[in-house]
Amino acid sequence: MVPVRYHLRSLFARWTSTLASIALIAVVIGVFAYLQAVVESAVRVLARSADPNAIVILSPGALSETVSNLQKDQINRLETIPQLVRDADGPIISNEIVALSSAVPREGGDVTVNAAVRGVDLARANRVRHGRVHIMPGGRAFRPGASEIIVGAAVHHLHRNHDPGDEVVLGTRASTAFRIVGVFDTGGTAADSEIWGDVERFRETYGRTGYSAARVLVPDGNAAWQAIQMAQGPSVGLSAQTESDYFRRLGTNQRPTFVLSIAIVIILGIAAALAVANTMYASVAARTGEIAMLRTMGFVRSSILAAFVLEGLALAALGGALGVLLSCLWYGTQQKMVSGMLTVVSYRLAITAPIAATCLAVGAGIGLAGTLLPAWRASRVDVVTALREM
């Protein structure tokens, strides 16, 4: 094998083009990591909200909670499903109302966006969410029946005038002012972008005769399947799906972003591989004499091939690592997306270990693709001619 020192020296000897190649791969991989993080973090905020053992009940035909309408007697029929998790009073059913309100985005302007408003019985809503809803210190829960609301931890990043103490006007006729009495945190789920209040108070405010959705719990996946069959069967006759499936459907509008980012990365990856090939071809051409010398010293063709491939891979690894670091500049920044309910959901951008690993692998792939042909040429150098020309 050709000693590592030789590679390091030759990379340093042409430091400008080495640097340019590294920078190039870094930008491509940085863009890739960023795009991947945008898509994955967006899907994850929904997935994190998703519990395979919670079932979302909607009216037949409804695709999301915002357009679903369940009457009390329809919800009562759920009590006949034996698989549901129960307490002393019977199955734990959380009746919820979901409505949209308009809010001015944090960055201002005179255009408005949709905010999701959810009416709940806080104790029960928290039960079906496995106690994940925490009221942050300094605030308190809304009192049932009062014109009070609590806002998710991310709402502050999304909408103006949605901080504790502020009044938010809600209702079909936008008729009632609700005071924000607390902030709640569900650990980064989509609920953190919602506004919550008392379900019966919201029924009045929004003039609803029924509810939007009901959430129930089952002990395991098998029970979930049976319960869904029963809920959709003739005796209950409602639409039922696990929360995981529900959020996956709401997240499908992220797919175009994913498809486009893949397309962009493929095109850029090819460009980067070509540029690496360019650098390596030049480096091989400039080092024909050195290669011939190495060959006369007894290094075999395969060692030469390996030597140049290693050089390319080292470039790519450095560039890839730099690119991942570059994308980390956006780590933890608040991003926005529009969920399938047409409401804005805020999420934190995260460059996860799998993303970093994929990016490094793609970087190495680019390096390999760009190096193979030049390295092949290097290993084929005609020793005698090359030595004569030195």
């Binding site: 083009s17 340019a20 863009v31 037949p60 509008n253 972003t257 540029a275």
Partner: protein, 385 residues
């Protein structure tokens, strides 16, 4: 021998390298032009839409809350000076084809005024006749009709997306030539009839679109309608069409911003690629350059030569990256995933793309050109000879 000839000769010297470099400039330029076109499409659409002279009236706190249908007459009754040519009520229908994976947006609209308020869609006289005669008429955007293989006269069955989720039959009545979105419109009267039957109340209206007769008429509409309905049971908010659309662009805007950020970063890729090639080529030609200097070429001329080489790389790379997408978009109008309108790459965007290519070439050539011009002739000649 002119500077230009020398520049081109050196490009031709190492063909493989030139081709590789051109491609590694062209591909990022392709992505850049695509990204710019997406962003431009959105911005231009919003900038130009107000030429259609429309304003929208919706509930004061947002379009998701509905207003009663009779407001169409109330608004027309306010208009004493003929400011409003027509009012078209639109409400979300959200229909989908049963068991189909395809999703498209759909609205219920007034059959009589829709073609007047949206006259830019290019309804033919036949379209108008069918639309007026058929209660079950559906107006389908061209890309959607092509994708679903729907033709005039086809019967389609849609299930509404809002309670009571009516299952309704429609007849494709018009595929207007300039309706280049994947939207579908059905008759409000027919939807209302089915809705009333199932829900026991009339369907509410999300938005009222007013076609105004003049700029002054629009100013009147923007102030007087809201003033009239203030403190009534149904308070309104009247907006320019662009303002209204901007609220969607704002929510979808994250995506546009993302594309734009990425598009700009991508230019760096081609700068790095071109820089690499140029500095290599200069290094290899140290001797040639030294000879030229010895022959009496000035430092400035050497510098100009290298810059020119960079510019030709940029120009060719830009052309190579931009022209194919420009031609393709002009011929087939591709629809990108997640968008409902075809991507349009304008001549201007193409020019900007090529100019960006030039800038890339210039930027990449600055350092190599500087180092070439600083060449110490005696040392360079001595080193090689």
């Amino acid at each position: 021998m002119t500077t230009l000839t020398i520049a081109f000769r050196s490009l031709a010297r190492r063909r493989l390298r030139t081709v590789l470099t051109l491609l590694s400039i062209a591909l990022p330029m392709l992505v850049y032009t695509g990204a710019r076109s997406i962003v431009d499409d959105v911005r231009r659409f919003i900038a130009e839409v107000d030429r259609n002279g429309r304003v929208v009236v919706h509930q004061r706190f947002g379009y998701t809350t509905t207003l009663p249908q009779r407001l169409r007459e109330d608004i027309l009754a306010l208009d004493h000076r003929g400011s409003v040519r027509a009012v078209c009520r639109t409400t979300w229908f959200g229909g989908h084809v049963e068991d189909a994976q395809v999703a498209f947006p759909s609205m219920a609209v007034d059959r009589d005024t829709f073609p007047i308020v949206y006259d830019e869609y290019g309804f033919s006289p036949d379209d108008l006749r069918r639309l007026a005669a058929e209660r079950r008429a559906a107006v389908v955007g061209r890309p959607l009709a092509a994708r679903m293989n729907w033709k005039i006269g086809d019967v389609i069955v849609l299930v509404g997306g809002l309670p009571p989720y009516p299952r309704m039959e429609f007849i494709v009545a018009a595929i207007p030539s300039r309706l280049e979105t994947s939207w579908l419109y059905v008759g409000l009267d027919y939807y209302d009839e089915v809705y009333r039957e199932k829900a026991g109340e009339p369907v509410g209206v999300n938005t009222f679109w007013l076609k105004c007769t003049s700029a002054e008429a629009r100013r009147w509409a923007l102030t007087e309608i809201d003033r009239h309905f203030a403190n009534s049971e149904h308070e309104t908010r009247t907006e320019m069409e662009s303002t209204f659309l901007l609220s969607f662009a704002r929510t979808e805007g994250a995506w546009v911003d993302l594309i734009w950020t990425v598009g700009q970063l991508i230019v760096l890729v081609s700068v790095a690629a071109a820089f690499n090639t140029l500095s290599q080529s200069i290094r290899e030609r140290t001797r040639d350059l030294a000879v030229l200097r010895a022959l009496g070429f000035s430092r400035a001329r050497i510098m100009g030569m290298v810059l020119l080489e960079g510019l030709s790389f940029g120009l060719l790379g830009g052309l190579l990256g931009v022209m194919p997408v420009y031609l393709v978009s002009a011929v087939v109008s591709p629809v990108l995933p997640g968008s409902s309108a075809p991507l349009h790459i304008s001549g201007w965007t193409s020019v900007v793309g090529i100019a960006t290519g030039l800038a890339v070439g210039a930027l990449a050539a600055v350092l190599p050109a500087a180092s070439a011009s600083r060449l110490k002739v005696a040392a360079a000649l001595g080193r090689v000879v």
